[in-house]
């Protein structure tokens, strides 16, 4: 057994990696189309009206607070939870009614779901064994993905002998080796500690790009979503509020729910916003990012020059400051409203102490009028 494995490792050369990398492209159109998906448990709706077109090789993040239905949506796409309405297409194929084992969809679970009775190689080879791939071919392909996730030296260990990060990489390799048309990942990094999480995040993204794999990634972590995705789908209370590129989602949230979840927006209603903007906004609510607000101290700009178009000065008092590393977030209380304002943390000497009188200005080009 060990002899044949060593033999196949030495026999497998670089072209094998390239072959796997180009396989998904040759497999044809792997775009994912969701149309009118809905799911109810009893009378409560878990998600509703889910429509999305995901391009071939695109990395999509489903971002939302816990309980927004994003994991259930992922499970429904995998076929693990039945749908009440709607259809799912991968490429030209309608997979809505297919059982999970026939969908050609790979999935990585939050808690790895590795088979405890099997070694790493057998865990990864399981899918190929189900496809009745010959033993030699199986060993070769397992070997290739093992190198892709940098675990060749752990091949003959059992899952319980591995660290969390290693286990999740095995789970990823196990899903990749069968060359799924779509890869689903259900909060795969949530159970890992911060350092491993950052490393694995970049690794997942690199592998996904090199394989051109259509990927749907679920997370509640805004940073993860912004760093990894081609597009982010923001989910809230069972609906997709906004589908956009990360930077658009961040600077142009469509509604107050989106603004409330992204960044640390100051959400103001029209009456509150009037003295800061110098006019009454058309919409009922406006959103202002803390870094699009400016301060002046004793008549001089503080923490950066004012932008070309600012609203009138509004006086306030520093209630507290929070040091976020490279950024200081001030909470400043005016006569009618309280605002969070970010400045760059250039030097500890210039920190504003509690009780300091300041003026606040809004960058009028960055004011987000919200539709709801």
């Amino acid at each position: 057994m060990s002899h044949t494995v060593t033999a196949s490792i030495t026999a497998t050369t670089q072209p094998a990696v390239e072959r796997v990398q180009h396989q998904p492209n040759m497999a044809g159109d792997n775009a994912l189309r969701l149309a009118g998906l809905a799911k109810r448990f009893g009378t409560t709706s878990v998600f509703d009206d889910i429509d999305a077109d995901i391009g071939h090789g695109e990395f999509i993040t489903l971002l939302g607070p816990s309980g927004c239905g994003k994991s259930t949506l992922l499970r429904a796409i995998a076929g693990l939870t039945p749908l009440d309405q709607g259809s799912i297409h991968v490429g030209q194929d309608d997979i809505t009614e297919l059982p999970p084992q026939q969908r050609g969809i790979g999935m990585v679970f939050q808690h790895y779901a590795l088979f405890p009775n099997m070694r790493v190689v057998d865990n990864i080879g399981f899918g190929l064994r189900m496809q009745k791939v010959s033993r030699n071919e199986r060993e070769r392909r397992v070997d290739t993905v093992l190198r892709l996730v940098e675990l060749s030296d752990q091949a003959h260990k059992f899952p319980h002998q591995l660290s969390g990060g290693q286990r999740q990489r095995v789970a990823l390799a196990r899903a990749l080796v069968v060359e799924p048309r779509v890869l689903l990942m259900d909060e795969p990094l949530s159970a890992l500690d911060a350092r491993i999480r950052r490393h694995l995040r970049d690794q997942i993204r690199d592998i996904q790009k090199s394989l051109g794999l259509t990927t749907l990634f679920v997370t509640h972590d805004q940073e993860e979503a912004m760093l990894m995705s081609d597009r982010v789908f923001l989910m809230h209370q069972g609906r997709i509020l906004q589908q956009d590129r990360a930077e658009t989602l961040y600077t142009r949230p469509s509604g107050s729910a989106a603004a409330g979840f992204m960044g640390h927006y100051n959400l103001l209603d029209a009456v509150e916003a009037e003295p800061l903007l110098g006019f009454r906004p058309q919409s009922a609510r406006v959103a202002l990012r803390p870094e699009a607000l400016y301060l002046s101290l004793d008549g001089r700009p503080f923490g950066g020059d004012l932008p070309p178009r600012v609203g009138p000065a509004l006086s306030g008092v520093v209630r507290r400051h929070r040091l976020l590393g490279n950024i200081v977030r001030y909470e400043i209380v005016g006569s009618t409203l309280t605002l969070n304002i970010d400045t760059l943390n250039r030097s500890t000497r210039t920190l504003l102490v509690e009780g300091t009188q300041v003026n606040m200005y809004a960058d009028l080009d960055e004011v987000q009028e919200l539709s709801e």
């Binding site: 059982p99 084992q101 790979g106 899918g127 002998q161 196990r174």
Partner: protein
Amino acid sequence: MANPAPVPLPAQSRRLSSLPTLNLYGVVLVAVFTSLALPLLATLGYALASRWGATLMPDGLTLSWFIELWTTPRFLAAAGRSLLVTIGALVLSLVLILPVAMLAQTRYPRLEHWMNTLTLMPFAVPPVVSSVGLLQLYAGGPIPLVGTPWILIFTYFTIALPFMYRTMTNSLRAVDVSELMEAAQLLGAGPIKAFFLVILPNIRAGVQIAIFLSFSFLVGEFVFANMLVGTRFETLQVYLNNMRGASGHFTSALVITLFVMTLILTWLGTRQAEHTVKEAAR
């Protein structure tokens, strides 16, 4: 020259602190062990004695009682019947209980509540009472089973049920059954294949423990065997009961044989259990 003096001190203090506790522990252990082992040793001695009458020690040692027992066709037949009934009951309970435990764990959590109540029934109803009930049920009517081995297989199934179900539920709980099933299915395995390749190997140890231990107490079962089937289908315990008028040496050999059989099975079961604990601790 000055060195050797301090050496005895630590040794002495160690002896002082550990000796009394060790002694107490040892005394209790020896007392318990002796009281448990003495009857068995006496039986073993009697089984090995050629004659043990008025004297304190047996007259001589012999294996002839064992040889006589092991060559008695009636004994061998009884042993065969016991094996048949016990293995039949275990196979039946495995085939029926494992799927139920599996479904209760994954798809129908409400089933677990009912199973918990059901598994208490064999404890709540004494064997003498339930055997009368079973006799009434199976004496006539469409399925006259009294006197056949079938009735014993079904009855033993009910005795083994709580034990088998509990052990299997615990093993299933130790692995995340639904997630493993889902992972296997997404990799292309049908539910049946997923169960045999992914779930069963992970609960194998628990199932083995349940089987070994159930086997050892089912082989020793007497009340149901005697009440329901009696001499028409003589099992080991019924045979032992029927032989009580025979030579004491002969029945002693029978008792020792039964004991060793049970001992080996229990030992196999517990060894498996320890092995599993070590596995889990790794």
